[in-house]
């Protein structure tokens, strides 16, 4: 099921003008506060009727300004987790959760009540009124309510923003199962947390001031130096696919990427599993010669693909490493001093972190 979005809409002082396509799996919308993420999701949900554009989901035109087609929100069957929880204050938690179930067509498949309640830790809250819930509890109920409406697609606007780390670590794999399991539920996902996106997303759409700056498969966008300022210099960095080769007795694991083998601590996946590796641009150092005095395990021979000066004193360097591109962020002065130019080959020293142990998106 693919989602095709073209939106042209103007608020007083803000214009949204963008197109992107999202394939199966999880499509992440990322952008700074006010970039237009919620507006896009609202348009997909049918809560906003854009002044112009076209939205097509799995072949069905939900909105088309040219042909004046507008499918009302209720007929779209998209499970929307709002940025503000929007629980029904007069209904108990369990009534909120089951609110949408009756509107799903007879044959619709979806998450089971007990599973969702257990996943979200709502057992003790079922008879409570939303007004008495804590912030995170509200958000969990909102999440459950959308999941239980048996939607064709999920729209999630920062669904985990006010949840604690351990709860997030329980929900993320569940979202992956929804995506990958028999439901194959596509998800449009807004988040400010790059680590969540690096773990979950198949497609990444970077928004800035109402425009798409970068869009495409996660691996490509994350490896694009132009994305660095958008993701934030501390968060930017390539995501690579790796295979676990072995867990060494000293606690390090060896992982195979297209350019060679890396040794990393703390990888919790069985041998043979594919994992995503996140290599933060700020954790990659460049050296013209093979470095000495450092363990050589995580040194890769790379070719400079491109140099992308940033807003500040830093520059983002795209490096070809085997079949992958990784990003490095170094100071502009270092670029000059080392005489880096595209096409040059050099050595990258990586400090990588594995994300999503045991899970990998298609």
């Amino acid at each position: 099921m693919t989602l095709e979005v073209h939106i042209d809409h103007r608020f007083d002082g803000f214009a949204l003008d963008l197109s992107f396509a999202a394939g199966a799996g999880i499509t992440a919308l990322f952008g700074r506060s006010g970039a237009g993420k919620t507006t896009v999701i609202n348009a997909v949900a049918g809560l906003l009727k854009p002044q112009g554009g076209r939205i097509v989901l799995g072949g069905e035109t939900l909105f088309d300004s040219a042909s004046r087609r507008f499918v009302p929100p209720a007929a779209r069957r998209l499970g929307y987790v709002f940025q503000d929880a929007r629980l029904f204050p007069h209904l108990s938690v369990s009534e909120n959760l089951t609110f949408g179930a009756r509107y799903a067509p007879a044959g619709a498949k979806g998450a089971g009540f007990d599973d969702v309640v257990a996943l979200l830790g709502l057992e003790a809250l079922l008879s409570r009124a939303p007004g008495t819930l804590s912030g995170g509890e509200k958000q969990r109920v909102a999440l459950g309510r959308a999941l239980l409406s048996k939607p064709k697609m999920l729209l999630m606007d920062e669904p985990l923003a006010s949840l604690d780390g351990p709860r997030k670590q329980e929900i993320l794999p569940y979202l992956e199962r929804l995506r990958d399991g028999p439901l194959g539920l596509p998800i449009l996902y807004v988040s400010h947390a790059v680590d969540e996106i690096a773990r979950l997303a198949n497609t990444l759409v970077l928004l800035k001031d109402g425009k798409v700056q970068q869009a495409g498969p996660l691996y490509d966008v994350m490896a694009n130096p132009a994305a660095v300022p958008l993701l934030g210099v501390r968060e930017a960095g390539a995501v690579l696919e790796a295979e676990v080769l072995a867990h060494d007795p000293d606690g390090l694991s060896r992982l195979k990427i297209s350019a060679g083998v890396l040794a990393l601590p703390g990888v919790q996946a069985p041998v043979g599993a594919k994992v995503r590796l996140r290599v933060l641009a700020q954790d990659v150092m460049l050296s013209l010669r093979p470095p000495e005095g450092l363990s050589a395990l995580n040194v890769l021979r790379v070719t400079i693909e491109g140099i992308h000066p940033g807003d500040g004193p830093g520059a983002a360097i795209a490096l070809r490493a085997g079949g992958d591109t990784i990003l490095a962020r170094i100071t502009a002065r270092a670029v000059t001093e080392l005489g880096l130019v595209p096409g040059m080959s050099c050595y990258a020293i990586l400090k990588a972190t594995s994300v999503a142990p045991g899970n990998i998106g298609r």
Binding site: A45, G46, L47, P72, P73, A74, R76, R77, L78, G79, Y80, F82, D84, R86, F88, P89, H90, L91, F99, G100, Y103, A104, R128, A129, P130, G131, T132, R145, A146, S149, L155
Partner: protein, 229 residues
Amino acid sequence: MSADAAAWEALRLSLWVACWATLLAVPFALAVAWVLARRDFWGKGLLSAVVHLPLVLPPVVTGYMLLIAFGRTAPLGRALESIGITLAFHWSGAVLAAIIMGFPLMVRAMRLAIEAVDPKLEEAAATLGASDLSIFGRVTLPLIAPGILAGAVMGFAKAMGEFGATITFVANIPGQTQTLPSAIWAALQIPGGESQALGMVVMASVAALGAVLISEALARRVAARIAGT
């Protein structure tokens, strides 16, 4: 019939008329309130003004207008009579008068309640697949329950007190249209009738107190439900 018995009969009738008027008016008032609160259309101000009219005109005038519109010789009155609804000199006519006179009060209370409902909740219900009707029934309606209750109390109270339009439209027929206010009024027109009137004023006040107390208790319960305590 003794004066006392007549007073009790008038009270019974007033309660009966007020209950029917309230029950029948609520759905219409709700519909009009919803339209005024949630729809924008040409002539909205006019509709709102028309709804307010019974408040602005002296009740006699409203009574005359009812007579003109629903009288036996009026087309509307005849049409109703042909389907078995007699308004003339019947308590149902008093119900109609009470509905019309209480309508502005009911509409306003319900409209204020509807305007206070966050449309974002209705949007949320829509994304969950609820049709407009379902949204109204499962989200809007329960949320405006306090407003409906308030409107109903106002309508009930007004119906209990309505006099001018009723007597003009359906006269003062003991057991049919002689409501408590008519009886009170009549008593006051006779020299020395004050004490009898006073008795009936007490009756009406007690009835009003009862209705208001019940509505306050219900409202408290509804509000507590929403606040979750």
